[in-house]
């Protein structure tokens, strides 16, 4: 089943006549997740994060330990609704991978993994109206790909490797230089 479409249709109905929204679905979205469900996906999350921020001349997300950050934020700092959305997203990704390639995500080639993530990204583009996206995200949580990418970015840019090598980190700046020429290949500051 295409969950995204299902949710969109449910959302449409909810707007048209609030009564059509299933209470069962609501309860199920708000159930607390089992931490192990997420912790078991650590290796997969590491590979997914690495696809988003790969190793180049600077470290990638996997080396920076972003998978641990994703799990920590998901388990401790994320409302149940969004946790479920995220777990469901992983399941959807796994189903899609199995359908397309007949194997597990971790057994896929790099090209196949990229294609899978691209599919997930396409699936999360949302509505063309900003306001509908906002309502949609609020009711049902951020689409899986966007949430995954957001956490990957946060986790990477605030990790030791990400901040000090992927970006430019200035622990104690001492001075403030308001206007200086941008250096060649200048990295962004890690903190503001």
């Amino acid at each position: 089943m295409n969950r995204r479409l299902y949710i969109k249709s449910v959302f449409g109905l909810a707007v048209a006549g609030a009564a059509s929204f299933s209470i069962f679905k609501w309860v199920s979205m708000n159930r607390a997740i089992v931490p192990a469900d997420l912790i078991h996906k650590k290796e997969m999350l590491a590979e997914l994060a690495e696809l988003i921020i790969p190793q180049t001349d600077t470290p990638g997300a996997k080396a920076a330990g972003v998978q641990d950050y994703i799990i920590a934020v998901m388990l401790n700092c994320t409302p149940a609704k969004e946790q479920n959305k995220f777990i469901d997203g992983i399941a959807e990704l796994e189903d899609y991978t199995a359908d397309q390639y007949g194997k597990e995500f971790l057994k896929c080639s790099l090209a196949e993994r990229k294609a899978v993530l691209k599919h997930m990204a396409k699936n999360s583009s949302g509505y063309s109206y900003k306001i509908l996206n906002k309502i949609n995200n609020k009711l049902f949580g951020k689409p899986f790909f966007l949430k995954l990418r957001e956490l990957t970015v946060e986790g990477y840019c605030q990790s030791r490797l990400g901040a000090t090598q992927g970006l430019a980190y200035d622990y104690i700046p001492h001075t403030f230089d308001a206007c200086i020429p941008l250096l060649k290949n200048q990295k962004s500051w890690a903190t503001k």
Partner: protein, 565 residues
């Protein structure tokens, strides 16, 4: 409660100061320096400069889940968690432990500890001018201020010279200059906007914020290291706080007794002398009740708590609250609004960048109603505060598509220059905006909960619309693109500038305090926190509290010496 004479002697001081935040720290220092044995009471724990700043030197990766609050934090502290993060949570109260009643949504942010909110304040320091002190008198909202700028001018200088304020002199009548250290510097996009504003409107200008961040070493503190981590407490003493400055100075005199874990529940009234005789305190560690006595009492618990304390201090003389003959106590609550503004992107200066993290932004001083402008649909005015920067990863992550090497390359390099700015606006003193006591609900020490009933009105809302319009105009004229005006519509309290619940005034029938912050009806009680404000002006108020406190301390000391108190 039975108190022997000996115990009474032990519990007797020349002066008692309630609250150790920005104004309480000042009161304690001034009184101690004048030689008065002073008891400083603080309801929270002690926070010692440097040693009690546990997160001050941490790196971003030392926070395992970043700066995200946990689900539990958000449930336990629905209000405070919208202000704190794991980096400074320890300087905020727990809402669950310290509940209050919101008759309408009101964010009451608090830090119960030695130093109070002086550890987490925004550090902007602006003088009020006669435009502000005369406003109530001229347009009839609220009562007249019993002082004018000339009464406070030397005390502003005195406060600035002690705390160290960096800023630029601009020679504006509506925003008087002060005693400034070298200003912080504007970056190229801020200068660009400033140049455009100067070209288009002779009444507007853009200047660097005036902040209590030190651009050079000052009074054994600083300079600021440009880390922009001020709200974790600064181990370099780079900004003014009670903890880094006034309390150590008070301690150095040998006259200070600091007593943390002490909730003052009541001011005690001496019917015979018609004065305050002291305070009743609950020790939060032992739950024991103590009484302390003094010749003078300074109340600096912060606006809302000060109102609550006075309302809770009833006697046959004051059945409706201590010094509340006017019926004004708890009323006229104000907070600035800072919800409305604009954001814009500029395509130029792509070859320019910056180094270091300046702990402040820029200021566009008030430009509305400098003369009463009949074409505007609101009274009073606002200033604009904002900052310019290049888009960094946290901004760009939302706008770049896809993933992979190209995504990473864009994410980790500086984006276009942007400016975010918003109006800090005056809130009129409305009688109906108020603090009162809940007669039924008590906190864990058996004290009545405070009820806050506050709303912005038409004048404030009209002003917000004007802020959006004028901000967008200034951006347009300066060539900004993708201009987005916003109004977050945040509830009262969100700017953390509560004031006005025990206002100053000429007339005891309509005000609680006289022109020296002295209570009309109990001459040895002084209130110099935000409660005393007669109008809110639009400037960040802390500097005014410090100046008023220093002035009232001097007056109290002189009166005491003359035997008048």
């Amino acid at each position: 409660m039975y108190i022997s004479d000996k115990n009474k002697q032990l519990n007797t001081y020349d002066a008692i100061v309630i609250g150790s935040g920005i104004s309480g720290g000042w009161a304690a220092m001034e009184l101690c320096k004048k030689g008065l044995k002073t008891l400083l009471l603080e309801r929270g724990r002690d926070v010692k400069h440097v040693v009690d700043y546990p997160t001050a030197m941490l790196n971003p990766w030392d926070f395992k889940a970043g700066l995200n609050n946990t689900i539990k934090d958000r449930e336990t502290d629905p209000v405070q968690s919208t202000a704190y993060s794991p980096a400074d949570k320890h300087f905020y109260v727990s809402d669950a432990e310290h509940p209050y009643v919101q008759e309408k949504p009101f964010n009451w942010y608090r830090g119960y500890q030695v130093g109070g909110r002086s550890l987490t304040w925004g550090r902007q320091c602006y003088r009020l001018s006669d435009l502000d002190f005369e406003a109530n008198h001229k347009d009839g909202f609220g009562v007249d201020w019993p002082i004018r700028y000339k009464d406070l001018e030397q005390w502003y200088s005195y406060a600035e010279s002690f705390i160290g304020v960096s800023g630029n002199r601009e020679n504006l009548p509506q925003l008087p200059d002060g005693e400034f250290l070298t200003p912080m510097e504007l970056n190229c996009i801020e200068k660009h906007l400033g140049d455009s504003i100067r070209k288009h409107d002779e009444h507007r200008l853009l200047t660097i914020a005036r902040v209590a961040n030190l651009t050079r070493g000052w009074d054994h503190r600083g300079p600021c290291q440009n880390r922009n981590l001020c709200n974790r407490g600064c181990p370099f003493g780079g900004y003014f706080s009670s903890n880094s400055s006034t309390i150590p100075a008070a301690m150095a005199t040998g006259n200070l007794t600091l007593r943390p874990f002490s909730i003052v529940t009541e001011l005690l009234f001496d019917e015979h002398k018609q004065k305050a005789k002291g305070v009743r305190v609950i020790d939060t560690l032992s739950n024991e009740v103590h009484e302390f006595y003094a010749k003078i009492v300074f109340v600096n618990a912060s606006t809302i708590a000060t109102a609550g304390l006075l309302l809770n201090s009833v006697s046959s003389r004051f059945p409706d609250g201590f010094g509340n003959g006017s019926g004004q106590l708890g009323h006229n609550l104000m907070d600035h609004h800072s919800s409305a503004g604009a954001y814009g992107v500029h395509e130029a200066y792509t070859d320019q960048y910056y180094k270091g993290r300046r702990p402040c932004g820029f200021l566009i001083p008030r430009y509305r109603n400098l003369q009463d402008d009949k074409s505007l649909n609101f009274k009073r005015g606002y200033n604009i505060q904002g900052h310019g920067e290049r888009q960094e990863w946290m901004d760009k992550a939302q706008s770049i598509d896809g993933f992979g090497e190209d995504f990473k390359a864009q994410l980790t390099t500086p984006g276009p220059w942007t400016i975010w700015m918003a109006g800090w606006g005056e809130c009129l003193p409305y009688f109906d905006n108020k603090v009162s006591l809940d007669n039924f609900q008590k906190d864990k020490w058996g004290q009545p909960l405070l009820k806050i009933d506050f709303a912005f009105r038409e004048n404030e809302h009209n002003m917000m619309t004007d802020i959006q319009q004028t901000s967008a105009e200034m951006f347009e004229k300066a060539g900004f693109k993708n201009i987005d005006t916003f109004n977050y519509n945040k509830p009262g309290g969100s700017t953390i500038h509560e004031m006005g619940t025990a206002r100053m005034g000429h007339d005891p029938k309509t005000s609680v305090l006289n022109k020296f912050n002295q209570m009309h009806e109990a001459k040895n009680v002084f209130i110099t926190d935000g409660s005393c404000m007669t109008s809110s002006a639009c400037q960040n108020p802390s500097l005014t509290y410090m100046a008023l406190t220093a002035r009232a301390s001097q007056f109290a000391y002189e009166q005491l010496k003359k035997g008048e108190l």
